[in-house]
Subunit: 206 residues, 3 copies
């Protein structure tokens, strides 16, 4: 299991880096300076896990281990430099972004279970960890959060978290349950992008 | 007193449900999907109490008891479905919304006193519990928070919290003090709606 | 050292008051009522230290000592009243604002070190304490945060925090290290205002 632990840790750091890069690309549409860019990168990549840890009253993960912070800053700066020279196709980020969502969802749900949270709260912690960073990013950029309008973004996260919890309840081992949950997030999210799946949009009568 | 405790608990859940419904109605003016709707409903109904609990370093109330979470989700989804069919008059929500404000104010102030907070902090915790959810709701919808411009919304909350604290200081029993505080919030808020009472609006010279 | 402690405490309260006044001036461009004004003043002056304390899991500073809260409310109300009569030149606030940034940066960094945070986290806590209040203020006013676009605002804060940490590492006494860090913040910030120093602005190719 030592190998799997290291692998998960590495994927977690990679998820942080990818979300930081996505934050820089989003902020690039506003006249932010280098520092504003770094703040948006940090908020996008660390915001979800931070809110989860504050709500659960755990030590905030990037205060306990600053590798996450370094990964976010380096990835943000690198993206800032690269995008000044090369034009990256937006599609490039869709797969790692979906991977990050899957991993953040699973790790957030597991952290909540470890603190003894009831199932509905635990699934919501998974969703918060997965999507809150993107909400903060968009609020800082003064836009309506993309998460609320994009193809099944948070819905994919919630479905994966619920599957993970159902499998644990059914006695499946944590490792397999996590793998199944993460896979479901990926399948729904990538399917939604490919086939334009959407939840019903709500416009109030007025 | 057992009966009063149960009654307060029931009114608290009702306040959460009403605020969730109001959140959905507000979000309806934006092209959010079903999930975005649920997030806004949760933020509007649980945001104030969450910030209070995080600031006071208490266990967040909906993590300790997920009935609140279920009430918010069910009320949000029900409103989503009903509003697609029937057109609800906005006035329908004014009375329960004012009731929710009154109850949230009193419960927030009491929670802060129980943690030993000084009086000014305690009154502010009452206001935060009452109004912060609405602020988050409007920020997520990318609007200037209504609370800052509406008729004596937060002012009613603050007045009620201060009355509660003054009565407690004067030796009145907690039950009667809470009742008086909540009544004052209701009277000011409903009077402001009916008679268009307002605080002076501030426009800087420039 | 008793004298220095008192001096620092006094400057801290002054920093809170100045930031509250700046918040009222900023909110004045929106049609907020008196209460909305007070909320923006509180968020602008107490927001940074609050986020720092929540992240570090310390008791929030204005809950522990409500003098800060009183200073923010009084300064906010006074500004509200004065600006209705006299037109203040915006330049009047630049020096005390820079002083407030310098002091908040140093106190935030020191608080993080005292909690045993690693150096990168500690420097970030200094920056958060210095600039987060202004970010919340602008988000509440529905604007892109000024901090992200202004002349070397947060950069000055970060540079000062890093100098403080480097001097402590080199064995300099905490008092002198704090003085040097605060001075660096002031020099960079005032130089940036005077000579229009800027970080490169980033506009993505698209």
């Amino acid at each position: 299991m030592q190998g799997i632990e290291s692998l998960l840790y590495g994927i977690g750091i990679a998820g942080v880096a990818v979300n930081a890069a996505a934050g820089v690309l989003d902020a690039g549409r506003k006249p932010f300076d280098l520092f504003g860019m770094v703040v948006v990168a940090l908020a996008a990549s660390l915001g979800g896990g931070t809110l989860r840890d504050v709500l659960l009253d755990r030590t905030v993960f990037w205060i306990a281990d600053q590798s996450n912070l370094i990964a976010a800053i380096v990835a943000g700066l690198a993206t800032f430099l690269v995008v000044r020279v090369v034009r990256l196709p937006p599609r490039l980020f869709l797969l790692p972004d979906a991977l990050g969502l899957a991993l953040f969802t699973v790790s957030g749900t597991q952290a909540a279970i470890a603190m003894g949270a009831p199932w509905l709260v635990a699934s919501l912690m998974g969703v918060i960890t997965g999507v809150f960073g993107g909400i903060v990013r968009d609020v800082l950029c003064n836009e309506v959060p993309l998460v609320f309008t994009a193809e099944l973004y948070a819905t994919a996260s919630w479905a994966g978290a619920l599957l993970l919890l159902a499998l644990l309840e059914a006695g499946v081992s944590p490792g397999w349950a996590a793998l199944a949950g993460a896979t479901l997030v990926l399948v729904i999210r990538l399917g939604a992008i490919r086939f334009k799946w959407r939840l019903p949009v709500f416009i109030a009568r007025s």
